[in-house]
Structure formats: C-alpha cells, structure tokens
C-alpha cells in the first residue's frame, strides 16, 4: 500500500488554509476605515449624543431655586407621600410595558413565522410580504390613526377599551421596524440549505426551525424586538387620539406641571434603550455561545 492511499490528504495539512482576514488591506479602494478613523468618527458621534443627554441630566439635578446640584427631584419620584402625583404616570408606564410585551409577541408569533414561510416555502409571496411590512412607514401616523378611529369604535364593542387594545394599531406601525432587521439577518444566511441539511440529518421541520433557524436569527430577532419596544415606548399619536393613558401621554401631562420629572423620565427611558442597544451589540449572530468543553 502506498502512502498516497493511506493518507486522507497525502502530504497536505488539512488545516493549512487560513480563513480569509476580516479586515482588508489598508489603502485599497473600498477597504474598511482604519482604526484611527473609526475612533475619530465614534468620538465625534458620541459627543453629539452626549451633549443633550448630559444637559438633561444636569437639568434634573438643579434645584428649583438657588444654585448647586441636588437629588431632590429623583427622590421625589420614589417618595411615598407624593405617589398620588405620579399615579397616572406609573399606570401609563405599566400600560406601555404591557403593550410592549403584546406587540413583541405579535412580531414573534405572527411576523417571524410569516417571514420564514415566505423564505423557505413560498418565495413568491416574499415581495408581497415586504411591501405590506414596509407600507406603514410611508403613511403618516396621524393619517393611520384617523383610519383606526372607526375600527376602534367597533373594536371597543367587542373586546372593550382597555389600553392593551392599542397593540393592534401599534402592531401595524412597528412592522417596518420589526421586518428590516430580521430580513437583513436572513439575507446573510442560506436558510434553505441549512434547513435542508438539518432535515437530511433527521430533524423535522419544527426541530429544524427551533434548533437551526432561530439561533442563527438571534441578532435580527433581538434587534427587531428592541426597535419594537422603542416604538411602543415612544408612540404618542395613537394613544393620544384614542384617549389611552400610556407612558408618553402621561409624561406629556406631567411635563406641564413638573418639567424636572419629565426630563428625568425621558432620560431614564433613553438609558433603558441605550442599555438594550449595548446588549444587542454584544450579541453575536454566530458563535455567540461558548462551546462546552468536550471530553477527549
């Protein structure tokens, strides 16, 4: 027997090929910016964002009269004696959080399966789905609300007028923001081949989706949910026209009597979204989980 028949790849190291570098050579047309350029851009953008945030933070620390800094406005928010002043605000926050959960559920349980079906089983409806999902961004919210009013008059007779019913309307306006990150993530993968590979290895359709598709769409799904929550927390027009108490409507009313608390809560909401964004940026779409150490 010759060595050539015995070796899997005679004389060649199977690990010899190095994966391509992620960062192309500098100085070439189309190459990614240098690290220094990236740092400068980040600093400039960071300063632009930081100035208004720091201004708001400083404002919330100013006393009503006099100079210096004080935490009195922050403390008032948690002062049991003043809870009655903020009861509408806390009810609005609660309503907005419930709305966020329901709208995220609509995205995950309706939009995502529809997108996967269009990608894997019915590619012909792909363009239709994209058109439908992007359409709401072309219509001003106030125009949409005018259309929603008669619908909600009927809806109130069926399911009542609780704030959670806003989720149907907000579920429509979040479609563009929920659709794009997921579709962008799908575009980076060959989902058809991945699912076919999984099925050829013995996975049923549900298992292939759960074990292979969804983990690879993690980044897109998280981004989509974040944007959905952001839209829900920032949505004012629909809630105001349909006379519902949400975080934004309550904040507007409170702002008129207590500008410090308005700025304080706006800052808190921004920080909340910022933390979510940082978390998303740390989530890698592939290889995010550390592999378990295998026994040799």
């Amino acid at each position: 027997m010759t060595a050539a028949t015995a070796a899997p790849i005679a004389g060649v190291d199977p690990t010899g090929t190095t994966p391509p570098s992620r960062r192309p050579a500098r100085g070439r047309y189309g190459a990614v910016p240098s690290r220094a350029t990236g740092t400068v851009v980040l600093v400039v953008v960071g300063v632009l964002f930081a100035i208004p945030l720091l201004s708001m933070a400083t404002f919330t620390l100013r006393p009503v009269s006099g100079s210096g800094l004080t935490l009195v406005h922050w403390a008032a928010l948690f002062d049991p004696a003043q809870q009655s002043n903020y009861s509408d605000l806390f009810a609005g926050i609660q309503n907005s959080l419930i709305l966020a959960v329901i709208v995220v559920a609509i995205v995950l349980l309706l939009l995502v399966p529809a997108m996967l079906l269009a990608e894997l089983k019915y590619p012909r409806v792909h363009r239709v789905l994209e058109f439908v999902c992007l359409l709401p961004i072309t219509v001003p919210t106030i125009v949409l609300v005018v259309g929603f009013v008669p619908v909600y008059q009927v809806l109130q007779g069926v399911v009542g007028s609780d704030p959670w019913t806003l989720s149907f309307a907000i579920g429509v306006i979040v479609l563009p923001y929920a659709y794009r990150p997921i579709q962008a993530n799908i575009g980076t993968l060959n989902l058809t081949t991945l699912t076919e590979a999984a099925r050829s290895l013995g996975a049923s359709w549900p298992v292939a989706v759960w074990r292979i598709v969804l983990p690879n769409l993690r980044r897109g799904l998280i981004s989509s949910c974040l944007l959905t929550v952001s839209v829900v927390l920032g949505e004012f027009t629909i809630a105001n026209v349909l006379s519902q108490n949400t975080f934004q409507t309550a904040l507007l009313l409170l702002q008129q009597t207590d500008p410090y608390v308005g700025a304080l809560l706006a800052l808190a909401a921004l920080l909340f979204v910022f933390v979510l964004l940082v978390d998303v940026s740390r989530t890698r779409s592939i290889g995010g989980r550390r592999p378990k150490k295998r026994k040799s």
Partner: protein, 357 residues
C-alpha cells in the same frame, strides 16, 4: 511527510443498500420535464455519478432520492422500501450540499453530532462516534472551531463527516466540490472515493464535471433534458458512447463529416473502421478522440491554428485542406507553431457515428 489515515471505525462501516428510481417523473409546470420517466438502479456499495449539463435534471434526481423534491409519478426505493411518501427526516440518508451547509452557530463537533442527537444516541457513544468521523476526514483536531474559522475544503470535509456519522443507508453528494479551488477539489474528490470504498456506503454523486465523474465513479449516468442518455462504466462512456450527446459531452471529440459504407467511414479521403451499430449507410457525423489523431511525417496536410500546453501533452488545433478543423493530442515534446504546415493521420477508429441529414 505524509500522515497515515485511520481506517474507518466500526461505527462508520455500513452494509451498502440498493437505491432505485423507477420511471420517476417530475414536472415543475413550466412545460419542460425536469425528470422524464428516468430509471436508475444503484447496487449496494456502488458509487454512481449523475453527470450532465446545467438543467439536465441531475440535481432533481438526487433531491428526489433525498425527499427534498417530491415526484409526480414513479417510485423511489431504498433497500426494499418504497419511500416516495416518507418525509426527508425519516429516510435515513446522508447528504453533502454544493454550498457550505455547516450550521454557523455550532462548532464542528456540534455540527457532526447533530444527526446523532436527532437519533437520540447517548452522550458517550455520540462523542466517540463524532471523534471517529472527524478523524476519518482528518479534522479531529478542529472539533471546537466554527465554520467561519475554516476554509471551504475543511467545511466540506466536516459536512462529509456529518453525513457519514449516522451510518446512513445512502450518501448523496450534490456537487460538493464545485465551490472549491482546483487543487483542493482533486484532493477531496479522491478522499471521498476512498472513504466511500472503505465504509462500503452506497453513494450517488451529482456533478457537471466529466473528469470528476469519470475519476471517482463505478458507473456514470449521463443525463440530458431530464433523461438518462447512457449509464455505464467510465470506460464504456468514453470508448463506446451510445449517443451523439454522450460522445460530445464525455471527453473531447472531433465532430467530422464522413460517409458510412459497409462498416467503414470515409473522412477526408481516409477510410476508418467503425463499431457495428444501428446507423444506416450514408452521410454521417463521426466522433474521433483527439488522441486518435496523430501528427505524422505523412498523411493529410493541415495548417496549425493554435496549440495549448497541457503538461505532459499538448493539444493542437489544425485546419485540413478539406476545410474542417481537427484537434490533435500529442506529446508535449512536439511543439508546432500556429501557421506551420503539418501532416495528420487517424490512428484509431471513431468512438461513435451518427446519421447526418
């Protein structure tokens, strides 16, 4: 220095299972049939290549076996079982795809273990079999890498290990080498063949590359327009093509016009014997391999049009006085230049003749 490849572990050796396609029809509804009542009989442990141009139906045939494509009529059998109504995940197949199909969020070991997890193999047995499969393709030391940390050739090796580790009844390979560069393609091609022989698995290999098909397969089925034109050993296809299409598609051929009479064909005044066939006497197209035409000291005068270096040999195109061109394959030590006057002679018989209207 060469490394010694391990023999396949017992966990990877299988008893080959026959695969049959019987009058399989697949119509995509666009007017042309992807599969036009094809029948194919693959013996246990045999390596059969489906060869043909793009759109000939070879991938559809493979996907019909895998279940990824439904069929309109006919039968697909693995072993004694009709499986046309069996879903993909219950067909017990192993498949390697043209595009890299490793799951990006899993390591090499996790990818390879996936099929075993689906079959609920215990952890200890699973780890052992994964390691054996990765050792078989020479990547046992890369078990913790992710797909994006590996080259294309390495990814296809892992895909092969992943397909084999479950000991499937049949291994289906859908142009697994197309995305690789030429050198890696040849290495992996030979390795796939070696592993198939050692494991004893029945394999169906789809390719549009005739060299690939002839090099690795026990038998090659040449497909055209949804039909199998000819199935046979590589030698059969090359030396005794059954149709004009096969003669033209498999290997290089000179298509020259001649006249068939009493078992001999006359080409440019030269009489050549032909194999007995069903073609009636009269005008024919004769298919002559380039290696059956020689540059000679005497013979038919011709002008060199172009010449290309192939390593040990050279291929030269000449134009005869009769007006048609011939490709001649000869030793690289002879290097005629374009415009040279040379003489050519036929050294062998045409591999096929076809009636010419």
């Amino acid at each position: 220095m060469t490394t010694t490849a391990p023999s396949p572990a017992d966990s990877l050796v299988v008893r080959g299972t026959p695969v049959q396609l019987v009058d399989v029809v697949k119509d995509y509804g666009s007017g042309s049939r992807a599969l036009d009542a094809i029948s194919l009989d693959v013996q246990p442990g045999e390596f059969v290549a489906l060869l043909g141009p793009s759109g000939c139906g070879k991938t559809t045939a493979l996907r019909a076996i895998s279940g990824l494509e439904s069929i309109d009529s006919g039968h697909v059998r693995i072993g004694d079982q009709d499986i046309e109504s069996v879903p993909v995940h219950k067909r017990d197949i192993g498949m390697v795809f043209q595009s890299y199909s490793l799951f990006p969020h899993m390591t090499v070991a996790q990818n390879t273990a996936f099929g075993l997890q689906m079959r609920k193999v215990g952890r200890a047995d699973r780890d052992r079999r994964v390691q054996e499969a990765l050792d078989l393709v020479g990547l046992g030391h890369l078990a913790e890498r992710y797909a994006h940390q590996m080259s294309g050739g390495q990814q296809q090796r892992v895909a092969l290990a992943r397909a084999l580790v479950t000991r499937p009844r049949v291994l289906l390979l859908d142009e697994p080498l197309s995305a690789l560069d030429a050198k890696v393609r040849v290495q992996l091609r030979d390795e796939i063949r070696k592993i198939q022989q050692e494991t004893g698995i029945t394999a169906v290999f789809v390719t549009h590359d005739q060299e690939e098909a002839l090099a690795v397969a026990d038998r090659v089925a040449v497909m055209n327009a949804g039909r199998i034109e000819q199935i046979g050993t590589p030698e059969d296809l090359y030396l005794r093509p059954a149709s004009e299409f096969v003669a033209g598609f498999v290997g290089h051929s000179n298509r020259v016009e001649g006249v068939l009479e009493h078992g001999r064909v006359t080409v440019a005044g030269q009489d050549l014997p032909v194999l007995p066939g069903a073609v009636p006497d009269g005008p024919v197209l004769a298919f002559v391999r380039p290696e059956d035409v020689l540059l000679a000291a005497s013979g038919l005068p011709a002008i060199v049009v172009s010449t290309s270096f192939l390593g040990a040999q050279r291929r030269t195109v000449v134009r005869l006085e009769a007006g048609f061109a011939l490709t001649v394959q000869h030793a690289a030590s002879e290097h005629p230049q374009p415009g040279d006057l040379v003489h050519v002679a036929f050294a062998g018989q045409p591999v096929a003749v076809a009636a010419r209207s």
